[in-house]
């Protein structure tokens, strides 16, 4: 059986022009599919920046909240109620808002301000410079050194600025897993200072962050939260909720899906057409093989092997090219975002299987139908 695969491979590879066209078509399609879905993944990843960076196990919010940007402030009693629930180890408030920063140059720059619980500093970032205790100092803020850091004119420890006409001073420089989606820098301070410095609505808690006593307590805690009219989600559930929001309620998902489908169709049409032409040009040879004694099943296996081989080579090259572009993009293109994950690779793999399947199907139909008698008759 290996022998016929070897023949199939030689027939395919030695037809260099067609093989190259097939590989280019599939590579291009996979490149587009992986690239677009990776960019979308990157966007979703950035959209969940606060959830990822803060890292609380359970997030409590108003039931109508579906992403951290439109958090609806909750009254303080929610925090007290959550703290008293069975299975809760501790719960802290999180303040989240956007403040207008006036830089030393005189320019204004909006910044996300996250107010961490004064007592625990739960969700604090990892510091590159400075000490976390300094956040309790007068006017203290910690700045995140991410892609948006330059928009605050790259402040060093000790740099002062104004925020809503209050004086602020940088006491630490932090790193986070991911920067936010909307291209604005992030400042951390304490919950109480955030309340003082930024204009507030009647209620001030954006989220309550909960640490359960154990993983097993999570369902019960969520249940208790829903009973008081609020919504509790694990960090992963919240990330999914955010992803669903961008995917289904902003049009981003549909548009990315459309572009991915276009990439898929381009690849499918190039590879399908090229492979079909390859088969048509070799139809008399397949007929001759049948006349010699090849069975339909063997010819089908040869074709499947050829399309699978071309598809997997194209898949590898497309993924490789995409990974290279993501690597270069992250290194050299400001604000470029793309996340290559299992789901993009899996989706592209499924699509390459479809490309291989459809290309094979067209070819197999022709080869099964060809009669050796037609070859003899010329």
């Amino acid at each position: 059986m290996i022998g016929i695969f070897r023949i199939a491979l030689k027939l395919l590879i030695n037809d260099r022009a067609k093989f190259a066209a097939l590989i280019v078509g599939i590579t291009f399609a996979i490149f587009l599919i992986v690239q677009l879905t990776s960019i979308f993944s990157g966007i979703l990843f950035k959209a969940s920046a606060n959830v990822i960076n803060i890292g609380a196990k359970i997030w409590v919010m108003d039931p109508s909240v579906n992403n951290p940007l439109n958090a609806i402030p909750m009254p303080d009693y929610v925090l007290d109620a959550v703290r008293s629930m069975n299975g809760v180890k501790y719960a802290v408030p999180l303040y989240s808002s956007v403040g207008l920063v006036r830089l030393n140059s005189g320019a204004y720059q909006p910044a996300t301000v996250l107010g961490l619980d004064d007592a625990t500093l739960l969700g604090r970032p990892n510091l590159l410079e400075g000490n976390i205790e300094d956040i309790y100092g007068e006017n203290a803020f910690i700045v995140v050194n991410d892609q948006e850091y330059a928009k605050l004119e790259k402040p060093a420890v000790g740099t002062t600025f104004e925020i809503n006409d209050h004086r602020g001073v940088i006491v630490g420089i932090a790193e986070v897993t991911t920067s936010g989606l909307f291209g604005i820098p992030t400042l951390y301070t304490t919950y109480n200072r955030a309340l003082q410095y930024l204009p507030n609505t009647r209620f001030t808690i954006a989220h309550v962050l909960v640490e359960p006593k154990s993983e097993a307590d999570i369902p019960a805690i969520k249940d208790q939260i829903s009973k008081i009219g609020y919504k509790g989600m694990t960090d992963l559930e919240y990330q999914k909720e955010i992803a669903d929001f961008y995917m289904y309620k902003t049009g981003a998902g549909v548009n990315i899906l459309m572009m991915t489908a276009i990439g898929f169709l381009v690849g499918l049409s190039i590879s399908g057409q090229t492979f079909y032409t390859f088969i048509l040009e070799n139809l008399d040879k397949f007929g001759a093989l049948k006349a010699i004694g090849a069975k339909n099943s063997e010819l089908v296996l040869m074709i499947l092997f050829q399309t699978s081989f071309a598809s997997f080579v194209g898949y590898g090259m497309g993924v490789g090219l995409s990974a290279l572009l993501i690597f270069l993009g992250r290194k050299y293109v400001p604000s470029y975002t793309a996340e290559l994950g299992y789901w993009n690779l899996g989706l592209a793999f499924v699509m390459v299987l479809v490309i291989a399947g459809v290309s094979s199907l067209l070819a197999v139909r022709r080869v099964i139908r060809v009669q050796p008698f037609e070859i003899l008759r010329g």
Partner: protein
């Protein structure tokens, strides 16, 4: 009397339906024997290729039987017929149908590879057959680099590599000049024909009639004459 290699009985084949129905073969019966070189001659459209195809397990007749080794081959299933062609029949097609993207030796090895023989052994056997047809030194070349006569010999090598009982040549000299065609047929008769093999040749090239043991003349799907021995022009 030599042993019967193929016995065809009352073969009939038509194409098309209704008013367009045309009979390609009408009630043809013949026998071919081991050790015999049997020619089928006749004008275009006389049914030679159709008859051949039915005899070799390629085209199913509307009626009639083709008996090989005591079995009616058209009573076999599709896969068994394919096995019959692979193991019992060697084809030399008019246009050779060699694979331009494979080397000469790989082309010759194809029947062995289809028989699921190990690749290296198949190539080795193919090399031995290429030596027989005098093309061992061209083994690694693509068929497209060979002359018409050499391609014909490659096609012959491919047909005989599986040691078939029945060798079928379709217009073997159609693409060759007179002297090359004769040389090929001399080689076929002297080196390939033996008492365990029957060779069937479709041709309308009278220059090679001299190599025939018998000639079946066909016209309008019927056998109109069978010549043997001294009746054949040499």
């Amino acid at each position: 009397m030599a042993e019967t290699a193929v016995k065809a009985t009352e073969l009939e084949k038509s194409f098309g339906e209704g008013n367009a129905k045309t009979y390609a073969i009408r009630q043809i019966s013949f026998e071919a024997y081991f050790g015999e070189m049997l020619y089928f001659v006749g004008p275009s459209g006389s049914g030679k290729t159709t008859l051949f195809s039915m005899t070799s397990g390629i085209l199913k007749p509307d009626s009639g039987k083709v008996i090989v080794e005591g079995k009616d081959i058209w009573g076999l299933g599709a896969n068994q017929i394919a096995d019959f062609r692979l193991n019992k029949v060697g084809f030399v097609f008019q246009d050779y149908h060699l694979f331009g993207k494979l080397s000469t030796v790989e082309n010759v090895a194809i029947p062995l590879i289809l028989k699921k023989q190990d690749w290296d052994r198949s190539i080795k056997s193919a090399m031995e057959v290429l030596e027989v047809v005098g093309l061992a030194n061209r083994a690694s070349l693509a068929p497209g680099k060979l002359s018409g006569g050499e391609q014909q010999r490659v096609a012959i090598a491919r047909a005989i590599v599986g040691r078939p009982d029945l060798l079928i040549f379709d217009e073997p000299t159609a693409s060759l000049d007179g002297s090359t065609g004769k040389r090929i047929l001399e080689f076929v008769k002297s080196d390939l024909l033996n008492d365990k093999r029957c060779i069937l040749i479709i041709t309308h090239d009278s220059r090679i009639f001299e190599f025939a043991d018998r000639i079946i003349e066909m016209e309008d799907g019927k056998i109109v004459n069978i010549k043997s021995g001294g009746e054949i022009e040499r």
